[in-house]
Every structure is written in C-alpha cells, then in structure tokens.
C-alpha cells in the first residue's frame, strides 16, 4: 500500500519505518527542513533502539523516503497518517494547531479518495474537526474518510511496541473504511478493536489517565509507608501478584513525566470539564504527581541542609530510561529547586545530556560518567532508572564521593546492600539507611 506519514517525530518515524518494513511504500513528511535533510543523509534526529537500522534497511530497499513536500506525498498515497505533535497549552488544553494545519494542507492536496488517519493523541471530537477542516479546504470535492488510530508506543521500546502492540484500536465511520486499516495491520496479528471515532479517541486518553492514576496511587501509598514504617516495595509486590491489579506501573518514585502522560491527563480533565464532568479523581492524581519532585527535594534538604555549600551528583536526566526525551522530565524540577537552594550540580545521563542543556539551569555541569559526576560530591541523587545505574560499581562510587549519601528517586537499589556498602541511603516509601 502507498502510505504517507505527516510529522516525522517519535511516532511518525517509527510508524513509517515499521510500515515500510511490512512491505508498504512509505513517505515521511515533516515541515522542518533540517530534520528531513538529516534523515535523507542517513542521520537520526532521535534516539530509539533499533530504529536506525530499520530506517537504513528500508531506505536502501527503496520502500522508505523523506520529504518536505506534503502535497506530492499525499497525492501518491491511499492512506495518510497524521502524527504531528499535540502539545499542551499553558492552561493544559491541547494545542491542535499542527493537526489543523496539516488537515488544511491535506485537503488542498487531495485528488482522489483518501483515508486520513489521525494517530496523534487528540481530544475526543477532533476527528470531526479534522473532517470539517479538510472539507472546507478541499480544492476538489473528492470523497475521503477520517479514521482514529491512536498510538500506544512507548519511547525506548517504540519498535517492539509498534510491531507487537497489546491492541490496535481503529475508530472508523463505517466497517468498510475500517477494513483498509485492518488490511494494513493484519500482518501484525494482534488483537484489534474496531469502534467509532470518538470511542477510539477516548480509549487512548482513558488508558493514559488510568496508568497515571496507578502511578499516583502507589506514590500516595509510598507516603503512607514512609510514615507507618512499612516498605513500599514489599507492599507493591504483595498487591501486584493480584492479577486484577498486576505488577506493572506500581513503582513508587518521582512520578511520571514525558511528552504523553502529563499532557494527556490534563487534556482529559479539560475535555471532561467542557462536558460538565469534574474529573476530580484525575485532578488529584495529577496533583499527587506534581508534588513528587518537591517531596524528593525536601528529603534531600532534610538530610543535607544547608545546601548552599553542597555538591550534588544527579544521575539520570531523561524523563525515563532508554530515551533522550527531556519533556516534563523530573530532573528539570529537581534540578531547578536544588540550584535555587544553592547546591552545585554535576549531572550525568547516558543519552539525554544534549537535550538537557537546553532546559536545565545554566550552572549545571555535565560529566562523561557517573563516577565523574560523583567525584567529591556530598550526595548522589538518582532521577532516572537507567539500567546502567543499577549495575554501577557502588564501591567505586562511594570511594570518589566526599560523603557517601545517596537519594534514590526510583528505588533502584536495595537498602540492605547500600547499608553493607556503608552508604547513607534515602529512597521512596522505605525506611532510610542512616549512618550507624
């Protein structure tokens, strides 16, 4: 099938590469010329395991191309995916500017029946909006359909998620239209849900909102554990074995960040409010999440105060492991607070440091290894749960530090082990390990 993907970010590039890999002819479009130039030259604008090889392979085989020319790409395609960004505005609503702009251009370009698929995460009702915009801007009155096909991939394992999704959701106005997408996805042999457009849009928001709620739930319980003297890791082990609950997304810590959960939860709160439903439960989950960084900084302050003469090594900056994405990363807030309190910060992240430079306070010093960051530090603060931190040589880490104090925002290490190694160790929802 001839496909075009508009918006070559995380979602667009991965979707395009995977569909090409499945044998389709794919053109990826973006309006940022450098991005397209980079891709055409064989470069990678984002970090994603396995993506570079997959893109290279399909470009070499002539199934995948890149362009800034939307009109040409749309005219050659049967199915057009919209995968542009849908950031949150300052008030938490969804900025649909890019979606609307793309819809306009698609309308102008369209010369024959086309299926326009919205893959960007958009508020319920956007499907209708896209249809209206296209209609209004069509240069020729050819028929078209708008389908919702929300994306569930996670950065860091985006390829795997796209090849083996838990479910494929297709919201289509008629069964016939749904068939086009069914055909496209059939080789994946995964469960499909075929429904109407608003239900499909809702599934995406409700899923992310629930996962956000799960994380905040556990963080509230972690707060209770800290005061009751219980151990959150044991609590979640006990509850996660209940199959109705499941162990996933039960890690207490600094809470969620990234480009999806924060904006999608805000957006659902707004959609609900517009419909006259006050989604207090979700608002509470959002507030709980917003308090995590402050909670962590207070923990640091309590143990180290005053901070103005302290040097703190921050390990991990990305919003989660296996990505260079800094959007809504907890390191931003923690870093800002610590700098405000006068601490000197030396940071290390395996891949996100370039992106971090743009959003962290200017005084932050970037190092090429965790040990370099920890050199002469009064404390280490772990923000992102990178696997390589799990397997750090902790003896070596302690040896280079001025004071062996560790604040673990992700409960990555075992308190017992930290005690044995002679650390003072503070983590989330567990008793601290204090110097004897």
């Amino acid at each position: 099938m001839n496909i075009c993907v508009v918006g070559t970010g995380y979602v667009g590039l991965v979707t395009g590469a995977v569909f090409a890999d499945l044998g389709n002819d794919v053109v990826c479009v973006d309006n940022v010329a450098e991005k397209i130039a980079t891709l055409q030259a064989g470069g990678m604008p984002i970090y994603e395991p396995g993506l570079e090889e997959m893109v290279a392979r399909n470009v070499a085989d002539g199934r995948l191309g890149f362009t800034t020319d939307l009109t040409d790409a749309v005219r050659r395609s049967v199915v057009v995916f919209i995968t542009v960004g849908t950031p949150a505005t300052d008030t938490g609503q969804t900025d649909l500017g890019a979606v609307e702009a793309v819809a306009r251009e698609i309308g102008r370009a369209m010369e024959r029946y086309t299926v326009v698929v919205n893959k960007s995460t958009v508020p319920v009702g956007t499907g209708d909006l896209v249809r209206e915009v296209i209609e209004r801007h069509q240069s020729r009155p050819v028929p078209f359909d708008v389908v919702s096909n929300p994306e569930f991939l996670r950065e860091g394992c985006a390829i795997e998620d796209t090849l083996r999704p838990d479910r494929i959701v297709i919201g289509a106005p008629t069964q016939q239209v749904a068939m086009t997408l069914l055909e496209l996805y059939a080789p994946l042999e995964r469960p499909m849900i075929i429904t109407d457009v608003p239900s499909a849009e809702m599934i995406k928001y409700a899923s992310n909102a629930f996962l956000a709620t799960k994380i905040s739930f556990v963080n509230v319980i972690a707060n209770i554990c800290e005061l009751a003297g219980a151990d959150i890791t044991q609590v979640v082990k006990g509850m996660g074995l209940d199959p109705r609950i499941g162990p996933a997304f039960l890690q207490a810590g600094l809470g969620y960040g990234g480009s999806c959960f924060p904006k999608d939860t805000d957006s659902l709160v707004h959609t609900a409010a517009a419909l006259g439903v006050d989604f207090v439960l979700l608002r509470a989950a959002v507030e709980t999440n917003a308090e995590r960084a402050g909670h962590f900084v207070r923990m640091i302050e309590k143990a180290l105060a005053p901070l103005d003469d302290k040097r703190i090594a921050v390990l991990g900056l990305a919003f989660k492991a296996n990505t260079d994405d800094m959007r809504e990363a907890k390191s931003i807030e923690v870093g800002r607070h610590l700098v405000e309190l006068g601490a000197q910060i030396r940071a290390y992240d395996p891949v996100a440091m370039d992106n971090a430079r743009r959003v962290l306070p200017a005084s932050v010093v970037y190092c090429d290894s965790p040990y370099a960051a920890a050199a002469d530090a009064d404390a280490v603060a772990l923000i992102t749960e990178w696997n390589e931190f799990k397997f750090l040589n902790l003896e070596r880490l302690r040896a280079v530090m001025r004071r062996p104090v560790v604040f673990d925002g992700r409960n990555l290490w075992e308190p017992e082990r930290m005690r044995r190694l002679g650390f003072e160790y503070h983590s989330i929802g567990r008793r601290p390990v204090l110097p004897a």
């Binding site: 479910r167 739930f217 209770i224 609590v235 006990g238 509850m239 074995l241 439960l281």
Partner: protein, 464 residues
C-alpha cells in the same frame, strides 16, 4: 497436648499437621476453618454466636458459598473440624490461633477493632506455652502492635507468643477456591520463629508466590490492594459518566483500555460501583489512617465520593424513566453486593430500595440468594414485597431495576419478561445487556456509561 509433642519430634522436622484455633466463623473464618481442615490440620473454630456454632456443628453452612457444604460435612465427619463457643477449646493446646473476627467500619470510617481487642483479651489468660497469634482479619497498619500490647499486659510475665499478619484475599462467591488456590500468600512476621511457622503452615498444598515481610507491611498490603481495586472501579465509573456525555459506549472503551496488560481488564466494568464488606471499609480505613498521619489522600477520598454518587446516578435514571414514582410498580433484580453471594453489606441496594420505597413506589424484590438477608433489614409491607423469581418481579411492573450482576439475569427470557410488564422499561445498574439487543427486544433500556447512546436510533457502534 500429647499429640503436639509427638508431632514435633517427627524426623526431618517438617511439621505436617498443626493444631489451629480460629476465632470468628463469618465468611473469612468459616472458609479458613474448613479449608485448613481439608488440608489435614486439626481445626477448632470458635464463635460467640451460639446459633451459628450450633448450625455449623450440625453441618449446615451459615453462609452461601460454592463448595462449602461438602468441605464442611466431610471434615466434621473426619473429626478434623469442630465448632465451639468456648475460647479454651480453641486456644489451649493449639499451635496457631487465627483472628478472623469482624472489623466493620465505625461511623467515622475507622475500622472498629472491638472484636479484635476482645479476642486478644480472651486469649491472654489462656496462653499455655509458645503461641503464634495471626491476624487474618483486615486491620489497619499497626494493629498487631496493639494486639501484642494487649496480650502482654494481661497475660502476665514469661508468656511466649508472637503476633503475625496473614491477610486473607478470598472473595465471596469464590471463597473456597480463592483460599485453596490464592494468587499469593502474604506473611508478615517480625520474628524468625513466627515467620518459619507460618511458612511451614503454607508449605503443603499451596503453589503460589509467598511474600514474606514485616507485620506492618503485610497489614498495609491488604488495604492497599483493596483501595487500588476500588480506585479502578471509580476510575471507570468516572469515564463512564464522560462516555454518556460523549454518546460513546464505556464497554468498548474499557475493552480497549483493558487490553493493555499494565492495566488489565479486571474491575473495569462500569456500573453501580463497589460494595461489600471489604472494599468500602478497607478504603475508608486506609484514608483515615493516612489522614491521621498527615498524608494527603485526596485521590482516595474522591474514589469514595464517586462510588457514593453512583446510587444517585441510578436513581436519577429511574426518575427520568418513570417520571412520577408513587404507585409505580418497580421490580428490583438483585440485592447482593455482587453475584454468587448472599452478602448485602455495603450493597448499593441498601441505598436504593429504601429510596424507591420512600418515594412512593411499589417495590418487588427478587434475589437468588440474598433476599433473606435484606428482609431482615426491610421487612415486607404493603408496598414492599419479596418474590420468588425474576418473572414474578416483572409481572405488572412499570420498570425493572437491575442492581446485581447475577448470571441468571443475563439469560432472562426477555420476550417473556416484556409481555408481563406494564411498560417495558429496564434500568440496568450493571450493564448486563447490549443496548442494541434490548432495543430489538422492544425495551426502553437505560444503563450506565451508554445512557444517551442507547436511545439513539442509528447505532454509533460499528460492529466487529
């Protein structure tokens, strides 16, 4: 006593059969008793209710639970199980004493620990040598500390005992099955002695993961698990309200959401919310413990509020469907808090039936198992009757209101039901039916989270 000694000298040191005393023969206690007896242990179960003890000793189950009858009769016959009202029988000579007494909510939401404290006081003077005392009742974090304190104060010096926690996760309706094949066993012990004895007890016959942790953590696990399940239900009910506004079907949304294994499809049925003797009370108890400790649990408070509001939402639908209630005949299907149980504690029916009645409606109630229990609360009168079948409840009714997800309601003969009713209106608090099917069967059908969509002539759902 002699048997105890002999067994302890068994070669290999693996204690096989133990002598257990169990306090409380309600849902949790009775199932625990018959199941441990079935596994070969010698069980003495005590309840202070003479009636209950007499009936159980006769082999008559006091609760409705699949599989219970056979286990009860079989183990009474084998002599491994007996019931008593005398605490000595359960404590003296036993290795482990389980607390399975009730911990109902007090008016202020806290768990009422009177029964637990009473058992602690009862046990204290009866201690004869080392005894392991295990909380199986669901109790707030730190209760074990107070049980220990109470016994220590009253038992006199040199009494050896430990207090451990072993929360019970069985669900009414599948209690026997849940007890014998649990997802996990949680053992909370602060001494090696207590931990190894509990591990011993569960070594034989169980093949699930065991989480061994501290007493306080174990206590918290149970309440947290229930609070999370409650959160899941309230979450989907909130989404259900949104779906009504958007004219989409919450069942489809839940299916799409539940296919994510990090979420799972369980407990995502929109409807009247959670009830029963556990979820509401455990949630509330967790909230109070947290707030006592200064933890902000606005999220959990909201879970509770959403659930309470479900009853109002259903009543509003009844109002909208029937307009004026006085003298309208309403058939109520189901009063149990969920299917396969006779338990009505915390059931939405408790909020709904009196409200319909006081609004002037003529209420006819049917439940396959729980009618007896609700009759005790609301005796029949000229406008409240208890009938023997769903068909009877529908006869001449202006509307049927479904409050429990009993399977037998799903397989009702809809044509027959409709022909008996004065007006074919169904208000379904459990979303048991497909709106399209009900429309085809000639019903005006109101459910939750699909409300407006269900009345639309052109279905918006594209069938798969």
């Amino acid at each position: 006593m002699r048997r105890t000694k002999m067994r302890r000298t068994d070669p290999g040191g693996i204690t096989s059969n133990q002598i257990l005393g169990i306090f409380g023969t309600g849902y949790a206690g009775l199932v625990t008793s018959v199941c441990f007896a079935e596994l070969g242990h010698t069980v003495t179960a005590i309840d202070k209710d003479h009636d209950v003890v007499a009936r159980l000793s006769d082999g008559t189950p006091t609760i409705h639970e699949p599989g219970l009858q056979e286990l009860l009769t079989g183990n009474l016959e084998s002599g491994r199980l007996r019931f008593t009202t005398k605490a000595e029988d359960a404590v003296v000579g036993s290795d482990i004493v389980f607390l399975c007494v009730g911990t109902p909510p007090r008016a202020d939401g806290r768990a009422d620990l009177c029964q637990v404290e009473e058992v602690a006081r009862t046990i204290a003077p009866l201690l004869d040598g080392y005894k392991l005392i295990v909380e199986k009742s669901t109790v707030p974090a730190r209760t074990a500390y107070w049980v220990d304190w109470t016994i220590r104060r009253l038992a006199g010096p040199n009494r050896e005992f430990d207090v451990a926690s072993n929360p019970e996760f069985l669900r009414e309706g599948t209690a026997v099955q849940d007890f014998l094949k649990p997802d996990r066993i949680v053992i909370g012990a602060d001494t090696e002695r207590a931990r190894s004895r509990l591990l011993d007890l569960y070594r034989k016959g169980f093949h699930c993961p065991i989480v061994a942790t501290s007493v306080t953590t174990a206590e918290l696990i149970k309440q947290t698990a229930n609070a999370f399940l409650a959160t899941k239900i309230s979450f989907i009910n909130m989404v259900s309200d949104l779906c009504e506004e958007l004219g989409v079907d919450v069942a489809t949304v839940a299916r799409g959401v539940g296919l994510d294994p990090r979420i799972g499809s369980h407990f995502l049925n929109a409807g009247l919310g959670f009830g029963g003797s556990c979820l509401p009370k455990d949630l509330n108890a967790l909230i109070t413990v947290a707030e006592d400790n200064g933890v902000d649990v606005a999220m959990l408070r909201e879970v509770e509020r959403i659930n309470t509001a479900r009853v109002e939402r259903l009543l509003a639908k009844v109002d909208r469907a029937l307009w004026v209630l006085p003298q309208k005949v309403i058939g109520v299907l189901g009063v149990a808090f969920k299917q396969d149980t006779d338990d009505i504690r915390g059931a939405p029916s408790l909020g709904i039936i009196p409200r319909l009645h006081s609004a002037g409606a003529i209420v006819r109630v049917y439940d396959p198992a729980a009618a007896q229990n609700i009759q005790k609360l609301y005796p029949p009168n000229d406008r409240l009757a208890y009938v023997a079948s769903a068909v009877e409840a529908a006869r001449g009714a202006d509307a049927l209101v479904i409050l429990t997800d009993w399977d037998e309601f799903r397989s009702l003969d809809l044509g027959g039901i409709r022909s008996l009713m004065r007006t074919p209106i169904i208000v379904d608090g459990r979303n048991l039916f497909e709106p399209a099917r009900m429309r085809a069967a000639g019903f005006e059908y109101h459910s939750l989270g699909r409300g407006e969509a269900t009345l639309r002539t052109v279905p918006r759902r594209v069938p798969v």
